[in-house]
């Protein structure tokens, strides 16, 4: 079965520290990959997406993600975290020809210490 796994339920980092959120996928063929952020009371906002080509993808708000086919991973990174980055982060995958049917991971809640 197709699935997306985010191994870390909660992560706490200090403001200014670097961040890496993990995401692993299990699909028959390499899916399209996405990272979304959800702040309390808000909908989901797309941070970045990977379809093909360069395995290092740049997104909004200073985020980037690296696709590693050999590890079936698509980890999200940020060099320096700001307090406003505290939110829930979701990795999602879309199978080829799957329309808009995104499969989401369970999410990682990021807390930022001052």
């Amino acid at each position: 079965a197709q699935s997306v796994t985010q191994p870390d339920i909660h992560i706490t980092v200090s403001e200014g520290a670097s961040l890496e959120l993990r995401c692993n996928y299990s699909y028959g063929a390499t899916p399209y990959l996405f990272w979304y952020v959800q702040s309390p009371g808000q909908g989901l906002q797309l941070l970045l997406k990977y379809f093909s080509g360069d395995t290092l993808v740049q997104g909004i708000k200073g985020f980037e993600a690296e696709f590693k086919r050999s590890q079936s991973s698509f980890n999200l990174r940020k060099p320096s975290v700001h307090w406003s980055d505290a939110a829930e982060y979701f990795c999602a995958a879309l199978g080829v020809n799957a329309g808009n049917m995104l499969t989401f991971g369970g999410g990682t809640r990021l807390m930022v210490k001052p």
Binding site: A98, N100, M101, T103, G106
Partner: protein
């Protein structure tokens, strides 16, 4: 331009009742998708509609149904509510039916509580 809007914001229903949730997509967007997000979990795909036709259905019982209107707004209906239906229901719109080509924009959701 206004984003995706959903109504109501919050809703409390009793087991066995019926509920209708509404979604208005971004102007010009013809595709609407519905997701259920149970507390502490990621969203799960329920339905996709494009040009008023169902284009995808997730693994949900027949108690869940949806439709899309000529103005591309959409309704999600849930019959015979169960406690487990308590969740945040998210609507997403996009210009076309392929999320690989067009970004989906999510609304703020409707928080449904079933007691």
């Amino acid at each position: 331009d206004a984003g995706v809007t959903q109504s109501p914001t919050h809703l409390i229903k009793t087991r066995g009742q019926h509920v209708t949730l509404r979604c208005s997509p971004i102007s010009g967007h013809k595709s609407v998708s519905w997701y259920q997000q149970v507390l502490g979990q990621g969203p799960q795909f329920i339905f996709q509609y494009y040009e008023k036709e169902e284009r995808g259905r997730g693994n949900f019982p027949d108690r869940f149904s949806a439709r899309q209107f000529p103005n591309y707004s959409s309704e999600l209906n849930v019959n015979a509510l169960l406690l487990g239906d308590s969740a945040l229901y998210l609507c997403a719109s996009s210009p076309r039916s392929q999320a690989s080509l067009y970004e989906q924009y999510f609304g703020p959701g409707t928080r449904l509580t079933v007691t």
